[in-house]
């Protein structure tokens, strides 16, 4: 998710009644936000619900928003808060914890051989390895690699300093490397 200089323009057009502008904006951000939420909650249906909630919240506040730069970090911050609320609700309603077996993070493409990475890592295994990371490190890795955020943006979303964000990312990568080394002797 690269910085989009047109976010301000799209939101302004949408406020003036141009629905196509919002459709474009939504199309730009729905996939990254959904993937971030899926990496957090691990359930596809829940992630889709939370994606809806995130955009509902965004629509509610968009009228008061002063858009200066890319809205990606802002949307992911909203998504993060929505996910935290969901986790709290689960706790309050004494719902059973999310199942250990989480749904896949990555798409399968072509036949199973094409899916294997250079060291024989498939999409399902890669997803499982990501789920093994502690939540904070997983968030940092997802935002940096798949959403294309800078460390400053990751730090803003997680409400920490950029150095902390960078170290969480590096620890996460280190662990992934360790898992890879263990699984591919």
């Amino acid at each position: 998710m690269t910085a989009t200089p047109h976010d301000r323009h799209l939101i302004r057009q949408w406020r003036r009644g141009n629905d196509e502008a919002f459709a474009l904006f939504y199309g730009r951000y729905k996939q990254p936000v959904f993937f971030y939420l899926l990496a957090l909650v691990g359930q596809r249906e829940t992630a889709e619900d939370l994606l809806q909630d995130t955009f509902v919240r965004f629509i509610a506040v968009a009228g008061k928003l002063r858009v200066r730069e890319s809205l990606g970090p802002y949307l992911v911050t909203l998504a993060r808060h929505v996910a935290i609320d969901w986790f709290r609700r689960q706790k309050l309603e004494r719902q059973p914890p999310p199942p250990d077996r989480r749904e896949g993070l990555f798409q399968r493409e072509g036949n199973s051989q094409d899916n294997l990475n250079g060291n024989g890592l498939g999409p399902e295994e890669a997803g499982d390895l990501l789920y093994k990371l502690p939540e904070e490190q997983r968030e940092a890795v997802v935002m940096k690699i798949y959403l294309g955020f800078s460390f400053e943006e990751v730090a803003r979303v997680m409400n920490v300093s950029p150095n902390t964000a960078a170290s969480r990312y590096r620890y996460g990568l280190q662990k992934l490397q360790d898992y890879l080394n263990k699984e591919t002797p």
Partner: protein, 170 residues
């Protein structure tokens, strides 16, 4: 391999996977919501505008009503009665004003002089009139005697420092 190289390598391995996408089920609902929310501010603005105009009209009507009532004597029942801040000026009643006893005495002396002149002017044959005037003269002289006594008394009291002279009622 150094640490940064290892990191780059791991990053490259994981970045090759295509992340999952959401299904299309939620899209239409969010787009509909966005469409409604752009319509809402317009409605709100109109509502606010309407309310503002109504409030302004009310204020104007009230102002007009007050203006008519207070200054123009119009449909609010006419000009309000204004309480007079001073009583109307009438002839000055000096009955309560204390008079100078000497001045009163002088006036009575003059009056008695006139009565005496009238008495002398009445012929001897008109006895009844002469008696009536004589009686009037004697009353007048009595009053003069009484006044003279008061004037004397008043002079004595006014000699005491700080004491006001007594009023004389005739």
């Amino acid at each position: 391999m150094s640490n940064p190289e290892k990191e780059k390598c791991t990053e490259a391995i994981f970045s090759r996977f295509t992340p999952m996408s959401p299904g299309p089920s939620a899209d239409q609902r969010i787009l509909d919501l966005a469409r409604q929310s752009t319509a809402r501010p317009c409605f709100r603005k109109r509502l606010l505008c309407g309310a503002g105009v109504a409030a302004a009209a009310c204020c104007l009507a009230l102002l007009t009503w007050f203006a008519c009532r207070h200054w123009l004597g119009g449909p609010g029942g006419g000009r309000l009665p204004v309480a007079p801040d001073k009583a109307p000026v009438t002839a000055v009643d000096t009955s309560d004003v204390p008079m100078d006893p000497l001045a009163v005495l002088t006036r009575f002396r003059g009056d008695c002089q006139d009565v005496q002149t009238m008495l002398e002017a009445v012929p001897e044959e008109n006895k009844s009139k002469k008696e009536a005037i004589a009686e009037k003269l004697s009353r007048c002289l009595e009053k003069i005697a009484l006044l003279e006594e008061r004037v004397r008394f008043s002079k004595k009291r006014s000699a005491v420092p700080g004491h006001l002279s007594e009023e004389v009622n005739v």
